[in-house]
């Protein structure tokens, strides 16, 4: 059963009509192919029109869609011989950050990503993708490991943000995030980042200071959640749509501001309608990003990464 978002209601209605007709034709042997084709065409047109002009707030909902492929889905589809590695060597293993070694198109790589979970159990286990310090410390450990062995690092970002908890603060959440950012920046190997869903604030930035930052077409990337921003600046969370618009959180916005490197197009109607095509497109985009990075020597690549970030925001946006 597909989950429809509020703004998808007219699309959902058409889909259920088509479904009803199909059932009727099966039961009664009626030939209604023409009618179905007409409705399907109408449905596709509506879907295309809706998804061509999603607002920032609608994109936020698409980015958080429960059927949208999650980090685990990308790892399963794109990484062979995936070998998960666990723990920060100090306190715990954090299921909100998955990481390990494996092969991407034959090449040995390190993979790290925030995992939101895809059903109730996995969501609870991964704390809905909100990592604690252990998660960021694991990330840093794996980035350093990858650096020692010359393995490119692929990160997948999909998180509401770092976990705001008493325990997280007590164990140095801020320091853990800062060190993870530093590890990304200092890695002597290529770091390719993909924002697959929600790039939420510092918890996302911890894994996003890469050579190349890719972003899915309907993903969002923001310094604060629209709800959080609305509560602070508009004094009411119901203004989230206005905040989302003002914060400029869409892939197009980020690209125009020069803060990401490339946008990966999603299938018609968003990644949640066709996970396989989405994941394949991300795989191709990662491969395309990796090739030129592998051609650089380590010092040049690290210097280029630094320069890229240092240039951000210095010039007015185009």
């Amino acid at each position: 059963m597909r989950h429809f978002l509020e703004f998808e209601k007219p699309i959902a209605e058409l889909e259920s009509k088509i479904e009803e007709l199909r059932k009727m034709s099966e039961a009664d042997g009626l030939n209604i192919a023409e009618e179905v084709a007409k409705l399907t065409e109408k449905h596709d047109r509506l879907l295309r029109a809706t998804y061509a002009k999603l607002t920032a707030w609608q994109k936020t909902q698409v980015a958080r869609h429960e059927d949208r492929p999650k980090t685990g889905d990308y790892v399963r589809a794109l990484i062979t011989e995936f070998t998960p590695l666990a723990g920060d060597r100090a306190f715990a293993d954090d299921a909100a950050v998955v990481g390990g070694l494996g092969r991407f198109r034959g090449r040995s790589v390190a993979v790290i990503g925030t995992e939101r979970g895809s059903d109730t159990d996995s969501r609870v286990k991964s704390n809905f993708g909100m990592a604690r310090p252990e998660g960021y410390r694991k990330a840093r450990r794996l980035i350093e490991l990858a650096g020692r062995f010359g393995l490119p690092v692929l990160t997948f970002v999909d998180t509401f943000g770092a976990f705001p908890g008493i325990d997280a603060e007590a164990r140095g959440q801020a320091e853990a995030i800062a060190r993870s950012i530093e590890a990304c920046l200092e890695a002597p190997v290529p770091v390719v980042v993909t924002i697959i869903g929600e790039g939420g604030s510092g918890g996302a930035m911890a894994l996003a200071a890469g050579d190349t930052v890719l972003m899915l077409e309907h993903a969002v990337y923001s310094v604060i959640t629209p709800e959080g921003c609305a509560a602070i600046l508009w004094k009411e969370a119901s203004q989230a749509a206005a905040a989302a618009e003002a914060l400029k959180i869409t892939a197009d916005d980020l690209k125009r501001l020069g803060l990401i490197d490339a946008i990966v197009p999603e299938p018609l109607g968003g990644a949640h309608r066709d996970a396989e095509t989405t994941i394949a497109a991300v795989g191709d985009a990662i491969a395309a990003a990796l090739a030129p990075l592998l051609a650089l020597d380590a010092p040049a690549r690290t210097a280029r990464r630094r320069d890229k970030f240092l240039e951000m925001g210095r010039e007015p946006p185009a």
């Binding site: 140095g172 320091e175 920046l185 206005a242 003002a246 501001l257 803060l259 970030f309 951000m312 925001g313």
Partner: protein, 287 residues
Amino acid sequence: MSWLTEYVRPKIRTLLRREDVPDNLWVQCPACQQMMFHTEVEKHLKVCTHCGHHMRASADDRLRWTFDGGTFSRIELPKVPADPLRFRDSQRYADRLRGAREKTHHDDALLVAHGTIGGQRAVVAVMDFDFMGGSMGAAVGEGIVAAAKLAVLQDAPLIVFTASGGARMQEGAISLMQMPRTTIATRLVKEAGLPFIVVLTDPTTGGVTASFAMLGDIQIAEPGAMIGFAGARVIEQTVREKLPEGFQRAEYLHEHGIVDMVVKRTELAATLARLILLLRVKDLEAA
């Protein structure tokens, strides 16, 4: 890098710029409610003489108290595009910026100066909480980078006083990118073999804490300062638990091994001078 030449012809500011308050004004300690003479409070670096509470201090105060004899030279910081998102909530960001500039007489939430501490050259960057809650946008990020470059150029340690509510939301993801940018700044200082010392003051939270503010070679906190990543209210709403006594205070961070020391304001300059001398023994021997 035109800003770098600026420090060559420094404008020595009037160091004891008198604030527009009459000498007989009374100040009430927000902690113990005791009344004190304004001049008395100033003399004790805004530390309550009754209970030791460290009152909020301005960025100008910090510079005055940190450098030898209160003497320093401020540098002009690089200009960045103003209001890149044309952000507007109930107010335009452009108007908020103008208001903050009028209120503080500063361009943005960071001041950078150089001078000596205990006779040693030092570069000091101070965040100004009075300027939009010390929030970090492109100007603050660029200022931290400039401070780091100045430290390298002068072969001097970099000391940063933090005071910030976090990222400047009105600059959207540009403010988020100041986290990696300021992290790079800390690397420039460290790679030059220079000490990077952070002094966390009340309050320091959000994106500032989760970047350069936690990357010091030495981490110092002021007594009672609120320091954390997430805001206390957000945490309370998330975990639905009462927060422990003293949570996210300097002493709590010290207990949890997150800062090296909690240093009284009146002992801070001497502590910084001692740390610089202890760390830079290699340079002193070579000289």
